[in-house]
């Protein structure tokens, strides 16, 4: 039997921090990072964000993820337990990652970044052929 899910509050980013000059609240998405010898995978929870509203930027070894969200405010609000807003988080990418091969997909509100590692300088055996 799996454990019961606990409520976790969204972590709102402090206003005026870093590059955030846009309006509205920004939250830091929860992430998982896992990997093996050949690649690293990053998963970020950004519910409500469609794939065309995600911006991924990589410069000077810093990977920035921005998920913009439109806030729906039709009708009358009866209960508001969670807040909605955009998502922002940045990561430092080490030189272990092949930055040109990073791929991103978005499904069911989860962003998946696959970051292949640089191929190691595997010592290659050079066959010697005899004439």
């Amino acid at each position: 039997m799996a454990e019961e899910l606990q409520v976790t509050q969204k972590h709102e980013l402090a206003t005026g921090s870093g590059e955030l000059t846009r309006e509205g609240p920004y939250f830091s998405p929860a992430v998982d990072i896992y990997g093996n010898e050949t690649e690293l995978v990053l998963l970020a929870d950004m519910p409500g964000v469609t794939s065309d509203q995600v911006e991924i930027d990589l410069r000077e070894d810093v990977l920035t993820v921005l998920g913009k969200m439109k806030v729906d405010d039709n009708g009358e609000e009866l209960l508001s337990e969670y807040r909605t807003g955009s998502y922002f988080r940045s990561f430092r990418v080490t030189d272990m990652i092949d930055q040109s091969k990073i791929t991103a997909t978005m499904s069911d509100g989860v962003l998946k970044l696959v970051m292949p590692k640089v191929e190691k300088a595997v010592p290659r055996k050079i066959p010697i052929t005899t004439d």
Binding site: Y34, D45, G48, L78, L79, Y82
Partner: protein, 154 residues
């Protein structure tokens, strides 16, 4: 299993306001450094998933953020004026030989009921799951929609 009524106890709102102003005061005195993040006081009493409810033209729209779910792991039931949500957010298969470097995304089961402000028509209940957001629309029962009665004079 706990049931929650729509509408927050005004006492908690007052406590929350008090806590916020105390935090502001504390920050002003200790100025400098990033502003710490404080959870609201009622956090412990809350159940997953957190819900937002809106009413649009006699229809309740209930939304919950549950990213990365499979719809077959989700069960929604409506009886009278009670909505029940049950499900499991399963851990993903990271493959053999892989290890976690960071793990913040929670997994597990959940079960939550909510009493709606009025009875709903069970035949009109619709649920959609898009971009990790579950949204359930429930139409108020015809009898529960207030009727305007005009007084006629003879």
């Amino acid at each position: 299993m706990l049931r929650w009524r729509i509408g927050r106890d005004p006492l908690w709102t007052e406590f929350d306001r008090l806590q916020t102003s105390m935090n502001d005061l504390f920050n002003a005195l200790t100025s400098g450094g990033p502003k710490p993040f404080f959870d609201p006081l009622w956090r412990e009493a809350r159940l997953f998933p957190l819900l937002n409810v809106r009413e649009i033209d006699h229809t309740y729209v209930i939304t919950a953020e549950i990213p990365g779910m499979k719809t077959e792991d989700l069960e929604i039931k409506v009886v009278g004026d009670t909505l029940t949500l049950k499900g499991e957010r399963k851990p993903i298969d990271i493959g053999e030989g892989a290890a976690y470097h960071r793990r913040e995304r929670a997994t597990g089961t959940f079960h939550r009921s909510m009493t709606l402000p009025s009875r709903v028509d069970p035949d009109t209940v619709k649920a959609t799951y898009k971009d990790g957001v579950l949204s359930i629309t429930l139409e108020r029962e015809k009898a529960a929609v207030p009727k305007q009665i005009t007084v006629s004079t003879e």
